[in-house]
Symmetry: C2
Subunit: 211 residues, 2 copies
């Protein structure tokens, strides 16, 4: 195996080209509106399974883009995703990225109530009083809380549900896919997901608007 | 599908138990020294393929633990991995986590030399003059540079090579696996890896020492 010489500026373009080519070879065609998002997730994970498991509600990408253009904030449940999301790009449209997981008050309240910090974080986010895109890369309890908040009348702009893991992850994602409140979603069905996937999905939307 | 009621404090333990059980069902047995690391990577990705593709040089885990106990620093090529690695635990042993990817001087030099920022970051790290564990979750060019530095006599304490992607990723990891300098490695063979995987491997070592 030989190391190929390639200019730094060409690496990403070449990678995205390889992904598209292999998807074609696999006989997978992706809809125009969701293609860039799925490809960016595959770029982040090198896992083509995402082409089959990522679920988008009708018009989810377009609604996400509109929300960003209207200044929506992004709330995530991991500091890794916070670190990976292009905060500068979001800021161009007036939004900020938040993660309350390391917040001491959140930790204290979670302990007192014997719920997860992610659960309390969602309550805190919903009280911000701004339009929010949720990017959940870890805790299924965040998705469960969002479902409860939606049942009480709360409406996120978009839910990116890509929790990863083995306990209530599959189930919590189905709650979002099956939400009857017309809340747009981008969910990776099954166990897989993660902070990197959450950040990649956010960035795929942001890069559609500015790069 | 029903959401299971489970205490926040039991989620991780339950998840790790499910992973062990499924590995057993698949007929996969992992060596005692590497098991915790592989399981933590599966916990982070929900991808059991890692049980087959993670390669450890002889005694790599033990050598990594010794390095941490002796105050080794960790250098990573992504701010997401930096965010995910347990910096408090490393600090107990005197180490710090560094990522130079957002460093302005690194960016400037990379542009002038037409190499990647990751490449320049490795040169900068090697000059720190402290024992270093490298945790490479993204850029194969970081691994390629580390190989060059090793050929010039430089010796990392451990290389965690879990770059992800499609251009030179497979090849760069093989360079580390085939290094003839006896530098210990933990490498995920193939295209898969990522910042989350890099952080999970570091944390699996740190949690063996203190949790």
């Amino acid at each position: 195996m030989e190391i190929k010489h390639i200019l730094p500026s060409d690496i990403e373009k070449t990678s995205l080209g390889i992904i598209k080519q292999e998807l074609t070879q696999m006989g997978k065609t992706l809809p125009d509106d969701t293609e860039a998002t799925v490809i960016r997730v595959i770029h982040t994970t090198a896992d083509f399974e995402y082409a089959d498991t990522m679920m988008f509600s009708e018009g989810a990408v377009e609604k996400g883009l509109e929300a960003i253009k209207n200044g929506a904030h992004i709330v995530t449940d991991t500091n890794m995703a916070l670190s990976g999301i292009s905060k500068k790009t979001l800021a161009r449209f007036g939004g900020e990225v938040h993660c309350f997981m390391a917040d001491e008050e959140v930790a204290k309240e979670a302990k007192e109530r014997n719920v997860t910090r992610a659960y309390v974080s969602m309550e805190k986010a919903a009280k911000l009083g701004v339009p929010i895109i949720y990017a959940i890369g870890n805790a299924p309890t965040a998705l469960i809380k969002l479902k409860e908040l939606m049942d009480e009348g709360y409406r996120p702009e978009l839910i990116i549900g890509v929790s990863v893991g083995f306990v209530n992850v599959v189930e919590a994602k189905e709650l979002i896919i099956n939400n009857d409140k017309d809340v747009p979603y981008i969910v990776n069905r099954g166990r897989k997901g993660g902070s990197g996937v959450a950040a990649a999905i956010c960035n795929s939307l942001l890069y559609k608007l500015y790069r």
